[in-house]
């Protein structure tokens, strides 16, 4: 029996894999006030789940497709609607359409809850490979564009003057977000993905003096939350995904209190 045979080890590796990508990306979500963006992409992912089930695609592929379509829609949208409004339209219509579509799929007894809240304890080896591959891609993307992303986050015109296209950097973040949502849906579910993006980053903020430190700290906080949440699921029989988020929240309040 190898280590990966234990569902608890697989769950921990899956959770840490998601955190690895979600925490640094979450920092940008916080810095650029894109919190609603993460939420919206995650809601739209439910439509991806439905499409995947209807066409026998892997769930990951369905979610990625819809999340990407959503990301491009927001990037492409004209200036007549605020980003908020466009996101609201896209997110909730996709969520509603997804739930309606799922009701048409018969033959499959579908556990919608598993996609809303995740099922980290049921992660298989292939899921694990997909999660880590996606996470490494996101981390690679962020590391490659780090300086440009930071400059564009501070000010669009400063970036433009330095030959950096702020729209392109926004697209990089949007694509990374789509990827994270796609890999995380199995782990924490569509409703809690935003929590994994935002809470570790918010918890790291009062303890960090540089952007790099903040994203490393957020990753550490996220990893500790995963282990803590799984421990709670194991010993207290609490739902794993929500327990992870609760742990991150406790650290958030602890870190905020520490700075007072």
């Amino acid at each position: 029996m190898t280590l990966l045979d234990s569902f608890l080890v697989r769950a921990a590796l899956a959770g840490v894999g998601v955190v690895f990508a979600a925490a640094p990306l979450g920092c940008f979500v916080v810095w650029r006030r894109m919190a609603f963006f993460g939420d919206a992409t995650a809601h739209a992912a439910i439509l991806g789940v439905a499409l995947a089930l209807a066409t026998n695609l892997p769930v990951f592929a369905g979610v990625l497709l819809v999340a990407l379509a959503m990301a491009l829609f927001i990037n492409w949208r004209n200036d007549q609607q605020s980003v908020d409004t466009a996101l609201g339209v896209a997110a909730h219509s996709a969520l509603a359409a997804g739930l309606v579509a799922i009701s048409f799929i018969d033959g499959v007894r579908l556990d919608v809850e598993a996609f809303l809240f995740g099922d980290i304890l049921a992660v298989g080896r292939i899921d694990l490979a997909v999660i880590w591959l996606g996470a490494l891609m996101v981390v690679g993307l962020l590391a490659w564009r780090w300086q440009a992303l930071l400059t564009a986050t501070l000010n669009d015109d400063l970036a433009a003057a330095a030959g950096i296209d702020p729209k392109r950097e926004q697209l990089v973040l949007t694509l990374a977000l789509a990827l994270v949502v796609a890999v995380a849906i199995k782990v924490v579910g569509a409703l809690l993905i935003s929590a994994m993006l935002i809470i570790p980053a918010a918890a790291a903020r009062p303890l960090a003096k540089t952007p790099e430190r903040m994203s490393l700290l957020a990753t550490a906080i996220g990893a500790v939350s995963v282990i803590g949440g799984l421990g709670s699921a194991w010993f207290l029989d609490t739902p794993a995904g929500p327990s992870i988020v609760c742990f991150a929240t406790i650290i958030f309040f602890g870190a905020s209190a520490l700075r007072r």
């Binding site: 650029r32 200036d79 000010n155 400063l158 330095a162």
Partner: protein, 238 residues
């Protein structure tokens, strides 16, 4: 060759024309100031020069390899982003410690190195932005209302600093300003903009141009009077 040549520039933002038929030439070592009422396209002109706005007609030609230092109108730092002055100077490219120090000393901001960007006052922020623009010894400094939000002594001091930089570095400076009386004192040339170039030339020439007076009315007279008063030497106009 001119550092920058703008020919027949036309820009529309959101379907609304902002600039049309703007011509402009900028040469090494001169200080040129753009004045104009709100919404006259001053910032848009600067943003076209740095490439943040794509022109609908005409073109902006830069001397090949031109090094530009850009100071934006304002920089709102979200307090969620932890970043020190020193780290900020490292964007978008890391710079040597000695270069960063030299730039900060030049603008009198050496004490700010380790402070978080989000805690700076308006004047401190302008200095830091200027320091960042100076890294890499620019041939051209673009300043978009650099003294906005500064009190009178603060902005007077800032303009003195600009003049000093021009003398030390020999770079050209193109700036947008609201403060007419300071502009008159500190510029080699003034461009009066209102969607198009209304008039341009030496400060004295522009101040007496009817187009300029039509835009700025009696306030201009006061501004010019203040200028003359401050410097105590007369100009033959009127």
């Amino acid at each position: 060759m001119a550092l920058i040549t703008v020919e027949g520039l036309g820009v529309a933002l959101g379907g609304k024309p902002v600039l049309h038929h703007v011509d402009l030439e900028l040469n090494l070592g001169e200080i040129v100031t753009i004045v104009g009422p709100n919404g006259s396209g001053k910032s848009t002109l600067l943003r076209s020069i740095i490439g943040a706005v794509v022109p609908d007609s005409g073109k902006v030609t830069k001397k090949p390899g031109l090094r530009i230092g850009y100071v934006p109108q304002k920089l709102q730092i979200d307090s969620t982003l932890p970043i020190s002055v020193r780290r900020f100077l490292d964007l978008p490219r890391r710079v040597a410690q000695s270069d960063a120090e030299t730039a900060l000393i030049r603008v009198g901001a050496q004490d700010l190195t380790n402070l978080p960007l989000s805690g700076l006052s308006g004047g401190q922020m302008q200095r830091v932005l200027l320091a960042r623009a100076l890294i890499g010894t620019p041939e051209l400094l673009l300043l978009d209302e650099p003294t906005q939000g500064l009190d009178q002594p603060g902005s007077a001091e800032f303009y003195r600093l600009i003049e000093e930089l021009r003398q030390d570095l020999g770079c050209a400076i193109l700036m947008v300003s609201h403060e007419l009386h300071v502009v008159m004192a500190a510029s080699d040339r003034v461009i009066c903009l209102n969607g198009h170039v209304c008039c341009h030339g030496t400060p004295e020439h522009v101040a007496s141009a009817p187009e300029y007076r039509a835009l700025f009315g009696t306030g201009t007279q006061g501004a010019l009077a203040l200028y003359r008063h401050q410097h105590d030497h007369g100009h033959a106009h009127e």
